[in-house]
């Protein structure tokens, strides 16, 4: 090898640079590998990435106002919403023109419900006016200002027009503001009225209860995992089946079973009354509140804690404990100083799994949570299926996603994600 070869690229036998040769020879393999994973890639893209992306987009998308009322939105630009006066005739004329088209296409109720999220009453205002305005001819029947106000007093309120103007942008942060108990008004961003502030409380409750559930899972799961890892494999397998049994029963069945156990006339209360520990007229309230949710969810998520702990503990040879004892450590010190630190990766993996599952849990809090024990996901479900405020649901979901990512990042900073092992 000459001196100059150190600076020049290596040449393969065919005279091409080595890098190029290597890339060429690997191309076939890479193409084949890509083809092999292509079905999965397409599946994930279509069924996971794309729906989530579109859902997240919904949390800021707001084209409905400018699509249904294009002329009104343009005219409203010249009106000062803070003046306290009604917009002029041009705005009303543009609005009627837009509104007649909207009624024809049956879009006005959709717009009504959208604006109803911002101020209640908007939905009925749009629906009622729709019937009357449909008969008007926007070309000849003007002027419309007085006429429209006559159909409904709502149109004589500058507030109504302020709301339309405030929410006329193609994109909005309104849903996100709503999601954190704020709102967008013509005067800028304000807190929601006290009576409507519920979501922040729900977020905090969800995080708090998820932490409690994770902690209970650690406390209950650690000894079980330890026994599993230290039993001879025959008995360990039997016990493992018991741990996995809940996985083979429907989630709904398990949750309903807790309802039977915990309710006022349920197994636990009956037993306590029979034992005389609790008097018949003071039965314990252990369901339809936070306690019920924590108990049921701890039970349901326990296997997710035990399995990673177990697989990590299995890799810790018993000689470490023996070595510690031979060096003079008591059982407790040997456990605490030698065994426990080595089992932390399992606790970490289990905690992340349980916490992330818990924070987005829906069914169990819905069934046993009552009003005090529901999670943010129950609110998201409500907005998806009942109030049909998908934008707010999407914003809540996005915030939940960010919260999980932030906590994950914090965990990485504090404990280190390398310190998570599934076995």
């Amino acid at each position: 090898m000459t001196d100059s070869s150190a600076h020049q690229p290596m040449i393969a036998a065919d005279g091409l640079p080595l890098k190029k040769s290597l890339a060429r020879s690997l191309r076939r393999e890479k193409t084949r590998a890509l083809l092999l994973i292509a079905p999965l890639l397409v599946f994930v893209l279509l069924t996971f990435i794309f729906p989530i992306g579109s859902m997240l987009f919904r949390s800021v998308e707001n084209e409905i106002v400018s699509n249904i009322l294009p002329r009104t939105v343009v005219e409203l630009e010249n009106w000062d919403a803070t003046s306290g006066e009604l917009p002029d005739e041009a705005v009303f004329a543009a609005f009627v023109a837009d509104f007649v088209v909207a009624v024809e296409e049956k879009n006005h109720t959709r717009l009504g419900s959208r604006l109803n999220y911002e101020s209640s009453g908007m939905s009925s205002l749009f629906r009622k006016s729709g019937r009357k305005v449909a008969k008007w001819n926007p070309e000849t029947d003007g002027p419309f200002k007085e006429k429209l106000i006559k159909t409904d007093k709502g149109w004589g309120d500058p507030e109504t027009w302020a709301i339309i103007k405030t929410h006329s942008g193609k994109y909005t942060n309104g849903y996100f503001l709503n999601a954190v108990d704020m709102q967008r008004t013509q005067n800028g961003i304000e807190a929601q009225p006290e009576s409507k502030q519920i979501l922040i409380k729900l977020f905090l409750r969800t995080v708090k209860m998820s932490l409690i559930i994770t902690a209970s899972c650690i406390l209950l799961g650690y000894p079980v995992a330890w026994i599993l890892a230290n039993l001879p494999s025959r008995s360990a397998n039997l016990l493992m089946i018991l741990v996995l049994l809940p996985f083979w029963t429907s989630l709904l069945v398990r949750t309903s079973a807790w309802k039977v156990m915990l309710q006022n006339q349920g197994v636990i209360n009956d037993t306590l009354v029979w034992l005389g520990l609790v008097s018949n007229d003071a039965r314990l309230e252990i369901i339809n509140n936070q306690f019920g949710t924590i108990v049921a969810m701890t039970h349901i998520l326990l296997p997710f804690m035990i399995l990673p702990m177990y697989s990590v503990m299995q890799t810790i040879p018993p000689t470490y404990l023996r070595a510690a004892k031979s060096l003079g450590a008591t059982n407790w010190i040997a456990f605490w100083r030698v065994y426990f630190p080595q089992s932390i990766p399992g606790i970490g993996a289990g905690s992340i799994l349980v916490f992330i599952l818990a924070i987005g849990y829906y069914i169990t809090p819905e069934i046993v949570g009552g009003t005090e024990g529901v999670f943010i996901s129950n609110r998201i479900a409500y907005h998806i299926s009942s109030s049909l405020n998908w934008g707010l649901a999407a914003a809540l979901g996005a915030i939940l996603l960010v919260v999980v990512l932030v906590l994950y990042w914090a965990y990485d900073k504090i404990v280190g994600i390398d310190n998570v092992k599934l076995g």
Partner: protein
């Protein structure tokens, strides 16, 4: 070293038995006495009970029957952490989440020794195994031999009088193993500690120990100094297990003046030293070391019985020649001869006559 210490043995196994399942005994009636400062090796094939004995001494297993005494006190009911016995484990068992220095400080911490004294002792122990510069590393960053030294230092840092070692060199390569054998014995003798060492490697046992206890089938087959064990095995198991060995089977014809005349199954007669045989007519297994077989007739006594042998294979091993013969129907008969300028290299197919001194040929149990 005085081996007759029955009155003040430092470690004593007194009629110890151990069973795991209540049906079979893993250790059968073990009696063993060790004086202070002795290096004793428990040698045996796997499943012979040697590791169980070590674990009972360490306190990780309880004796089903019998007493284990340490310095005259029964330790049957003393938990492992109060026995004050140092132990080196097979895979070192260095705590992976602690640095080397923390590993060494651990036994001192649990003994509540002050920080400055602790640091001084850790440093001294590290220097002792020539690992002074490695205190800040983690076990995973060390090579096998280095981990071995640290495990040794950790077992010694709290100055125990008795140290147990469970196949500590098993995971090392041959060269390193030989070096460590030497270092461990030196260290043990310099510190004057008593060592119980478990291995299945007979070379290790012979080179390191003051005495070796050969285990088989839950019993000590022979407890003796290495040279005695090699040259005067008391039964055919020990003869087979320690070193290379040739066996021939036959029947005792007569015993006279410390000599036994044995007729081999092939009909040939040989002279032996009777060890486990007492009367004519007994079946016996005759044991002879490969290096004690002679085929230069002039070096044998004129009245020695000779056997015909056919050369099967000649292996050149550098320092020695290893020749496989067929003798009295046994074609696994090995002889070893030193590679000297005048040494004969036997050719396969050649027929020779071999013989030996009667003392080197031991008539053992059949």
């Amino acid at each position: 070293m005085a081996l007759d210490t029955s009155t003040d043995a430092f470690v004593k196994f007194d009629r110890v038995q151990k069973s795991y399942d209540g049906e079979t005994l893993v250790v059968k009636d073990l009696n063993l006495e060790m004086p202070k400062g002795e290096f004793l090796t428990m040698l045996g094939p796997s499943g012979s009970g040697k590791t169980t004995c070590l674990m009972m001494l360490a306190g990780f297993e309880t004796a089903t029957h019998g007493d284990i005494l340490l310095d005259g006190i029964s330790i049957n009911n003393i938990p492992p952490h109060k026995r004050g016995i140092g132990m080196v484990f097979q895979n070192y068992a260095l705590f992976p989440h602690m640095t080397i220095a923390e590993n060494l400080a651990f036994p001192l911490e649990v003994r509540k020794i002050g920080k400055s004294e602790r640091e001084a002792k850790v440093k001294r122990a590290l220097d002792m195994v020539e690992m002074g510069a490695f205190g800040g590393r983690r076990p995973a960053q060390l090579s096998g031999g280095q981990q071995q030294r640290i495990a040794l230092a950790r077992a010694l840092v709290f100055e125990p009088e008795l140290v147990l070692m469970d196949e500590p060199l098993g995971a090392l390569d041959k060269q390193l193993r030989e070096k460590m054998q030497f270092e461990i014995t030196n260290l043990a003798h310099n510190l004057g500690i008593t060592v119980v060492y478990v291995t299945h490697d007979q070379t290790e046992a012979l080179t390191m120990s003051d005495r070796v206890a050969v285990f088989n089938d839950g019993r000590i087959q022979q407890l003796a100094a290495p040279d005695v064990l090699y040259e005067e095995p008391e039964n055919s198991f020990v003869a087979q297990f320690i070193g290379e060995n040739n066996t021939l089977e036959g029947v005792v014809r007569e015993i006279q003046n410390g000599r036994a005349l044995v007729q081999l199954d092939s009909g040939d007669l040989i002279d032996c030293k009777p060890v486990n045989v007492s009367a004519p007519g007994q079946r016996t297994r005759v044991s002879i070391r490969p290096e004690r077989v002679e085929f230069h007739k002039e070096r044998l006594s004129p009245d020695a019985h000779l056997l015909k042998a056919e050369v099967m294979e000649f292996i050149y091993m550098g320092d020695i020649f290893r020749t496989r013969l067929k003798v009295a129907g046994n074609d696994e008969f090995i002889i070893k001869s030193r590679n000297a300028p005048d040494q004969v290299r036997l050719q396969p197919g050649e027929t020779i006559e071999i013989g030996w001194l009667a003392e080197d040929c031991r008539a053992l149990d059949a």
